[in-house]
């Protein structure tokens, strides 16, 4: 067991990050699966992180309640901004959600209670490995169920052809709001988990760069199944560790990876249809 203890003391933070990033990639997968290019998930994560950290630091709430509220807080915000924002689509939605992210970041930067640019320090270490594992498993299970239900099919239909979906009797606006809000909830919980193992959070972690990182994870992995975001988030988290010398160029590498994937593998690394083409009909099962 000694090797494990050594490994854990060195790499636990990294393993935790893989889990949190997986949750974030799944959160954006959810909105993408409904055809929404929303880049608000970094900000939702930030709201979850700050709200949960403040609840722990100032009110001493119990951790499960803190986690739950960390998800609910951004979900309430998503419900409020969803109606006007989700009228937009494509690039306009991306721009509006990025702008929302900036508003959140600047608000946090200027509030007293959030510690301004210095952020919040000394957040107790509450997150344990099994918390992340359990919530990740629960999320994967929930999303897998959703995918196979009428809701998942409605998302898919909206993504493919919104007008046809409406005329099939689907309340498109309501389902878009559902995808947006559920995604914000997952991102918020990820933020709360993250805040309680990093000791410290600051507005910088939830800005534009984080928004692009989250998108990169999902797009790199591919969004045609749940495996894609899990794969993408693992690669994006582990790559800089494997190539330590590239650490300073992290954004550059991420950007390059995104461009290359979009150019050469538009459906991401994990694309069941391409696999079927490569390996014949035997590998037909989609995850």
């Amino acid at each position: 067991m000694e090797w494990f203890n050594d490994f854990w003391s060195t790499y636990s933070t990294l393993v935790f990050s893989v889990g949190v990033h997986a949750l974030l990639a799944l959160s954006i997968w959810l909105t993408l699966s409904c055809g929404l290019l929303s880049l608000a998930n970094a900000a939702f994560m930030g709201i979850g992180a700050y709200v949960s950290a403040l609840l722990t630091l100032q009110l001493g709430w119990s951790f499960p309640l803190v986690l739950l509220t960390g998800g609910i807080a951004p979900a309430v915000v998503a419900l409020l901004i969803g109606a006007p924002v989700l009228r937009l689509s494509g690039v306009y939605l991306a721009m509006a959600t990025l702008a929302f992210g900036e508003v959140v970041r600047i608000t946090v930067l200027n509030l007293e209670i959030t510690g301004g640019p210095e952020g919040l320090n000394g957040i107790p270490l509450e997150t344990e490995g099994w918390h992340i594992a359990a919530l990740l498993a629960l999320t994967i299970y929930g999303l897998a169920r959703l995918r196979r239900s009428k809701v998942g099919r409605a998302f898919e239909a909206i993504k493919e052809d919104e007008v046809a979906a409406r005329l099939m009797g689907i309340n498109v606006d309501r389902y878009k709001l559902l995808a947006f809000t559920l995604g914000s909830f997952i991102a918020g919980v990820a933020g709360a988990l993250n805040a309680h193992f990093t000791f410290f959070i600051s507005p910088r972690e939830y800005g534009f760069e984080a928004a692009v990182d989250i998108l990169t994870m999902a797009v790199l992995g591919g969004i045609s199944s749940l495996i894609g975001p899990l794969l993408g988030s693992s690669i994006i988290t582990l790559l800089p560790e494997l190539l330590r010398s590239l650490h300073d160029y992290r954004s550059f590498v991420n950007g390059a990876v995104l461009v290359l994937v979009v150019l050469f593998l538009p459906k991401g690394l994990w694309d069941p249809r391409r696999f079927r083409k490569w390996f014949g009909k035997a590998k037909g099962a989609e995850a």
Partner: protein, 260 residues
């Protein structure tokens, strides 16, 4: 035909896009049962009528009623819930989905289970999904597509894509099915096949309201026909009445003969 009951009633409907008057004072009634045809030359405003009925566009004036209730102002999904389904002039199936999934999308509103049912995979949820799958198979088999149920819709031939669109529309359990030029772009044998499918659908008790270009085709198929020309109804009645209407001959048939 002895069907005095009116299903869809369009009264004094006008539609303009800015200064472009696409429909003016359009009135006609689609009776319950049978096949009703809307014909007219290119750009006459036929598709616009469908877009108004299905709620994709709002009329500039006039009323549209379905079973005595106004449809004006309702969002498209609610109009579908009331019992109107449609197909599109340019086929709009979900290409990335299987045929079965396409049809199951049409059943969306009829699947009654909630979030808890989904998460816990409740027996009610499983039963509803199973019934929906069976019904989807049944609808596909009506159109002879059941053996292709697992295929990706993208891989279908043009004619089969049309049939899939029929099946998907029927899955919403409509009382009235709107077909926008269902046989456009098909060869004569495909046309005949599809015509039989439309008759089958009618025989199963669905009301059919179809737009068609091909005069001969509509004449043999429809119980009543309305003729639209430059946004106005110039004739309405049985195929024979329409065929012998002088204005129609000039506006529509004359043009076709010129072209021929």
């Amino acid at each position: 035909m002895n069907t005095p009951q009116t299903l869809l009633s369009i009264r004094n409907v006008g539609k303009h896009f800015g200064g472009l008057h696409v429909l003016q004072d359009v009135s006609f009634e689609v009776p319950a049962g049978g096949i009703y045809g809307l014909i007219g030359p290119n750009g006459a405003g036929k598709t616009t009528v469908f877009n108004l009925v299905t709620g994709l566009l709002a009329p500039s004036s006039g009323t549209i009623e379905f079973q005595g209730e106004s449809l004006v102002g309702l969002p498209p999904h609610q109009i579908t819930h009331r019992g109107i389904a449609r197909t599109f002039q340019n086929i709009r199936i979900f290409k990335e989905m299987s045929l079965l999934e396409n049809v199951m999308i049409g059943m969306h509103e009829h699947l009654k289970y909630g979030a808890g049912g989904i998460f816990f995979n409740s027996s009610a949820c499983r039963a509803a999904e199973k019934r929906a799958r069976e019904r989807a198979f049944e609808l596909l088999s009506w159109l002879g597509l059941e053996h292709k149920a697992a295929m990706l819709a993208d891989n279908l031939s043009y004619g089969d894509q049309r049939k899939l669109e029929f099946a998907r529309a029927l899955a919403t359990e409509p009382k009235l099915l709107l077909l926008d030029e269902p046989v456009a772009g098909m060869n004569p044998s495909e046309k005949t096949l599809l015509m039989e499918e439309i008759i089958n659908i009618r025989n199963r008790g669905y009301g059919v309201f179809m737009i068609e270009h091909d005069m001969r085709f509509v004449m043999g198929l429809c119980d009543r026909i309305a003729v639209l020309n430059f946004g106005r109804i110039i004739a309405e009645g049985s195929p024979d009445e329409v065929r012998n209407n002088q204005e129609v001959i000039e506006a529509y048939l004359g043009r076709e003969e010129e072209a021929a």
